[in-house]
């Protein structure tokens, strides 16, 4: 198969995966919950800066900051289930508010109430990171079931003359009843099992194994390998891979954030934060710095300078398409392996205790290098991000030399041709 037909085939599959309605609803739903993840994370950060004068200063309001975290990141599954149900119904071109709320109602029906001394309580345990996978599944199923019922026209039809807003409310009524009853039956069935709730079942049989796979170094390396290979074919590797990995990595990060807030040991190393700080900046910066300041080829120098500002913020496109990196046989190997080497170094440093695990704050896209390390909890991570740059430059150097030599030769040939043409 020729390279071009490979590209087309890969693009087709990557496109299908990324365009998949369900994956897209999950990732768009989670993206919509980002403002709350970020608010909660910052409330946690502000309340836990380990500096005594600061702690004394904020002592009177520390509990208030805790409330913010409790009702944002710690109940993220509640937001996620609504947003995922909303996004899925939207993709079917249905009015999304009712199905979103039906997803939320179903999720709550499936979450058992706890009773203490006559007070009923929702267990927060299942509304945060540990409930995230249930919220994804329930969000998708409840909303899909709603769409299925509406498509069969099992709805109350209002006679002509009833205002459309009123009619719209009644459209959702029968589907809502059916979906919530279904959730109730599932909830009752789980009470008969030793798990007692769908939460305990999904958590131990789906979430923990998936977190084990996605949270392992091997899982991260495979994800990076796929991501970088897709970029080499001109496809936005990160959005394709994130469609699958994001729910797993976010749930791992949230567990860290909960532990961080409680002042406990951070349970996970890998997550969105780890990937972002170790793989997203230094490899690109290493190559760009070489291009901008060491290239003899004019074109490469220019591209390097063009791409430099963006690279500090984790934006790679100018380089990917400018050199181009796409289908570039010289740069393919370092492009795939430099970020993998970076994450391995970061992983070893973390297990050895040189670097702390990331605190679980979501690394919002566009946060620059160094700042992202600081937000993830440590000046050590921020400095480590900088130390990775010369390492990446070293890895790229021999490949860069070959590239530059070829580029220079091409440029000379072109100049000669132009000179001939002028004569």
């Amino acid at each position: 198969m020729s390279l071009n037909s490979w590209t087309t085939t890969l693009q087709k599959y990557a496109g299908k995966l990324q365009a998949n309605r369900y994956l897209r609803s999950v990732s768009n739903g989670l993206m919509s919950s980002l403002p709350f993840l970020i608010i909660g994370a910052f409330a946690t950060l502000f309340s836990s800066i380990a500096w005594e004068p600061y702690q004394n200063f904020i002592a009177p309001v520390k509990d208030l900051l805790g409330i913010v975290t409790t009702f944002t990141t710690n109940i993220i599954a509640v937001y996620a289930v609504f947003l995922i149900g909303y996004r899925l119904a939207e993709s079917f071109e249905k009015d999304p508010v009712t199905p979103g709320l039906i997803s939320l109602a179903s999720f709550l029906v499936l979450t058992p109430l706890a009773k203490f001394d006559g007070v009923s309580a929702l267990p927060l345990q299942w509304l945060g990171a540990q409930g995230l996978f249930v919220s994804i599944i329930v969000g998708l199923l409840a909303s899909r079931f709603y769409v299925w019922i509406v498509d069969r026209n099992w709805t109350i039809k209002m006679p002509a003359g009833v205002p459309p807003t009123v009619a719209k409310t009644f459209v959702g009524l029968i589907p809502a009843i059916i979906v919530v009853i279904a959730a109730l039956i599932i909830s009752a069935l789980f009470q008969l099992t030793s798990f007692e709730t769908i939460h305990a079942f999904i958590y131990s049989y789906l979430q923990i194994p998936l977190q084990g796979l996605g949270g392992s170094l091997g899982g991260l390396i495979i994800a990076l390998f796929v991501m970088q290979t897709l970029w080499l074919f001109g496809i936005h590797g990160a959005i394709v891979v994130m469609a699958v990995m994001q729910p797993i990595w976010i749930s791992l990060d949230l567990q860290n954030l909960e532990a961080f807030e409680a002042g406990a040991e951070l349970p996970n190393i890998i997550g969105m934060g780890f990937w972002s700080y170790s793989a997203n900046f230094a490899p690109m910066l290493g190559l760009i710095l070489l291009l901008a300041f060491r290239a003899k080829t004019k074109q490469y120098r220019q591209i390097g300078k063009l791409g430099l500002p963006g690279a500090f913020f984790g934006i790679h496109e100018p380089i990917v398409f400018g050199i181009p990196l796409v289908l570039n046989p010289v740069l393919a190997i370092p492009y795939i392996f430099t970020p993998i080497i970076c994450v391995i170094i970061a992983y070893i440093c973390t297990t050895a205790g040189i670097l702390p695990p990331p605190n679980g704050v979501y690394p919002a896209f566009g946060t620059p290098i160094f700042a992202s390390g600081l937000i993830l909890g440590s000046i050590r991570i921020a400095l480590f991000q900088l130390i990775l740059i010369p390492i990446c430059m070293l890895i790229y150097y021999p490949f860069f030399k070959v590239l530059d030599k070829q580029g220079l030769k091409n440029e000379k040939n072109q100049e000669e041709e132009e000179a001939v043409a002028v004569n």
Partner: protein, 98 residues
């Protein structure tokens, strides 16, 4: 006035190109409105778009956007990847409105 919308994964790298396209438009005295957004947001801007340009990294979405929006009178194209990489705002602009 023509309205051009550029889309990519997050609308970040295209926004760098948009700045250069605006400069080129100013210099040449071309009256256009140009914006960059994430591909998932496009639906909201469809009514305000005459020309839709996709970043090359999401060129695999071209067929989807073309079949959905060309019947509505929006011209859909993928930005040339070398012009994109070199952030050649002038060339992208001139090709878009040609």
């Amino acid at each position: 006035m023509k309205q051009i919308t550029l889309i990519c994964a997050a609308g970040m790298s295209t926004s760098m190109l948009v700045e250069r396209m605006k400069q080129a438009a100013n210099q040449k005295g071309i009256e256009v409105e140009i914006r960059a957004i994430a591909n998932s947001e496009f639906k909201k801007y469809a009514d305000q778009t005459d020309i839709l340009l996709l970043g090359p990294q999401i060129s695999y979405m071209f067929d989807e956007f073309k079949s959905q929006y060309e019947p509505k009178g929006i011209k859909v194209n993928v930005i040339n990847s070398v012009d994109y990489g070199m952030m050649n705002g002038e060339k992208v602009l001139l090709e878009a409105i040609a």
